[in-house]
Symmetry: none
Subunit: 70 residues, 5 copies
């Protein structure tokens, strides 16, 4: 059995943030479909939630380079 | 037990983004089914969310080549 | 314990896209059931979302051949 | 088989908080889409829930550095 | 293969509580969005549920220090 197991750490850290981005944008799309004039209020909330969730995967990306090259 | 375990890292990193794409396009289809005239407003949101979620799997694809060939 | 663990990588990479295809076609069926005349608008969206989600499993298929034969 | 398995610990600890952030912001977006005037009441609840869930991933980040460098 | 597998224990113990916190606060936000005057009644329920779910991850945090340093 060969290969590098470090990538598995990044891999699992990317599961949650991606599902979160899907949930947030699905709610954003549903909100705009129901009230198109609310897009201006919903967009910053969706971007904020996206950034806060995506940060956890970016942490995993940074830690991958720390664990792989250090 | 033989084989290369690096691919497992990419594999799990693809779970979340795919589910996210499913959630986003399901919401997009539901929105267009309810209000067909809103398709022009919903399409860029769906494409944006798709790109932001898919990026996490593309990171895993790039890291696979780094971990496999470096 | 015998067997090849490389296939496990492709296996987990197929979890998400399959769920995504399920979510997308469920929404497509729901939309057509609610508004049968909207099928012409919903079909290309469903096919687009299906292709974008399925791509992540195809990447895993290609990477399996790279990891297995290289 | 090479690589560092410590990162896997952070990775799985990031799955839940990210999904939680997605659920909280999806509810926040839905609430504002339904009642735009309620944004002032919903924002502190969303930020509180985000902080309480994200804390579990930050614990994992701190424990990674403890387990990796200690 | 190097690294400490102890952290994996904390990691998986944090998946469930975090998702639970997300579900609780999402329901709390939905409740306040629908009936803003009910916030006083819903807040202690949300905090109680949060504390009961988060406790399971704190147990994992304490057990990590016991298993790592003892």
């Amino acid at each position: 059995m060969t290969g590098d197991i470090t990538l598995l750490g990044y891999g699992v850290s990317a599961i949650g943030p991606a599902i979160a981005v899907g949930l947030i944008f699905a709610a954003y799309i549903n909100g705009v479909a129901r009230q198109p004039e609310a897009q201006g209020k919903l967009q910053p909330i969706a971007i904020l939630g996206f950034a806060l969730a995506e940060a956890l995967a970016i942490f995993g990306l940074v830690l991958f380079f720390i664990a792989f090259f250090v």
